[in-house]
Amino acid sequence: MQTFGILILSGLTNGSVYALVGLSLAMTYGASRVINFAQGEFVMLGALSTVLFVTTFSLPMVVGIPMVLIVCATVGFLVERLAYRPLVRRGSQPLTIMIGTLACASIMTGTALLIWGPNQLFVPNAFSLEGVTIAGITSTPQQLAIIATFAFLMALIWFMLYRTTFGLTIRAVGIDPAVATLMGIRAETIIAFSFVFSAIVGGLTGGLVGPLLGGHVSMGIMLTIKGFMAVILGGMGSPFAAAAGGIAIGLLEATVAFYGNSFYAEPIIFGLILMMLIIRPTGLLGEWEANRK
């Protein structure tokens, strides 16, 4: 029972990270119909700029984290303005634009390498890393903060998308930007918002998960892949499907690592996901989401 609890907790923690990346990928995809392959780099940027502001500049956490988010928002804005928008305006196919975001990922990793170097860095923690034991299960406040942040952001995004006029315009732009424009919606601004918002979510994720994973310039790509897998596994239907996919991957990973060996956990997980997709090509929740309402 206790091992089971520990397993769930560690699965939920990693799963929340993948879900946060998946959520932000789905958010950008929802408005722009493009997977932003630089999304994981925002987590990296979040983790390493936390090092910069909190460790190097010795700013307190409450000042440092907002600074981190501003940096991520700015870079997210630049990705949209310098890669996405020019390509769309030239009539590029989504695939071309995705390669564009991959180029941005590469540029971000390269720039980070120049700033922070190739070594793994200790990322200061906002919450305690001391274990607290509740009902026989030991966790850390940092871990719980990650799960709570995920739950909060998912609720926030749900509310925004499905309960506000602004969210309705985001969904409309995703369905057809030209027709949304005929409603007077500034489609480009909405898409820019989705990039900036996702970048902020990425930065926050980085600041939170950095202390657990360690900050490293090449940590982004692994997270992009896991987040992308979460999106595919959950189904392209909505950010929540992606979030569910992320949690599923986290739990699966924890289980495989616990009963087997974390060394071959990855191939097993990919294999299972492949099997699942053969059985349900639209993803776990894809179809359900499409029939919503």
């Binding site: 006029t165 309705l168 315009t169 969904r171 409309a172 369905i175 057809d176 030209a178 027709v179 949304a180 424009t181 005929l182 409603m183 007077g184 919606i185 500034r186 499409a290 309402k293």
Partner: protein, 242 residues
């Protein structure tokens, strides 16, 4: 209200409109008729600023709007019902109507309620379908959503591109009755129609387009009796070939 002068536009480098001029007065219904590929949709989309203007000038209420963006044009009240309806298929009828009212989203709530009431009164069927996804409606119902969505914006000039395309004759008649009612209420409309007979009966003024040019114009009743126009819109021969 609207004045177009020497408008040239097209797709990429290919020019489709070769200098179109026309004008619409407030409260008027103006129709554009012409064969497939004449450039009617190109003109409507150029007015909505979805296509770039190569040269020429568009004036609305005496103001030069040539350089405005698509959403700026909507803000002024030039609202398009696009060819092929172009609903937000995965969204509900209600959500489609709400998106239509985006232009007036800051208006008092009572005004928005009134507007919705007006639309649902015009098309009572939409009230029954309010929570249904737009893509699952019949063609006629979808066209009601398309027109209703545009009316939610409180248009000052309504651009209608082939409203009746692919609809059953009885639904077409209903649509024209609705347009008749909107005309009586004083709405200014630019009507692109395949059903030239009905369009000319409704309109005050008409333009005939062929291969990107205006080839004839005049009061609608005159064009209705024009031999060449009759031949052209009945498809007996091409207006440009004689």
């Amino acid at each position: 209200m609207l004045r177009i002068e020497g408008l040239k536009s097209g797709y990429g480098k290919s020019e489709v409109l070769h200098g179109v001029s026309m004008s619409i007065n407030a409260g008027q219904v103006v129709t554009i008729i012409g064969a497939n590929g004449a450039g009617k949709s190109t003109l409507v989309n150029t007015l909505s600023k979805l296509l770039p203007i190569m040269s020429g000038r568009i004036e609305f209420d005496g103001r030069d709007i040539t350089a405005l963006s698509a959403s700026d044009v909507v803000d002024l009240g030039i609202i398009q019902v696009p060819e092929g309806r172009k609903l937000f298929g995965p969204l509900t009828v209600d959500e489609n109507l709400t998106l239509g009212s985006y232009r007036v989203r800051h208006a008092p709530k009572a005004e928005l309620t009134d507007r919705r009431k007006f639309v649902l009164d015009l098309f009572p069927r939409l009230a029954e379908r309010a929570t249904q996804r737009a893509a699952t409606l019949s063609g006629g119902e979808q066209q009601m959503v398309a027109l209703g969505r545009a009316l939610m914006a409180g248009p000052r000039l309504l651009l209608l591109d082939e409203l009746t395309l692919g609809l059953a004759p009885i639904v077409i008649d209903e649509m024209f009755e609705t347009l008749e009612r909107l005309k009586r209420e004083g709405l200014t409309m630019l009507l692109v129609e395949q059903r030239a007979d009905a369009a000319l009966a409704l309109a005050d003024h008409a333009y005939v387009m062929a291969t990107g040019d205006v080839v004839a114009e005049g009061p609608a009743p005159d064009l209705r009796n024009d031999e060449r126009v009759r031949k052209a819109y009945l498809g007996e021969s091409d207006i440009t070939s004689d």
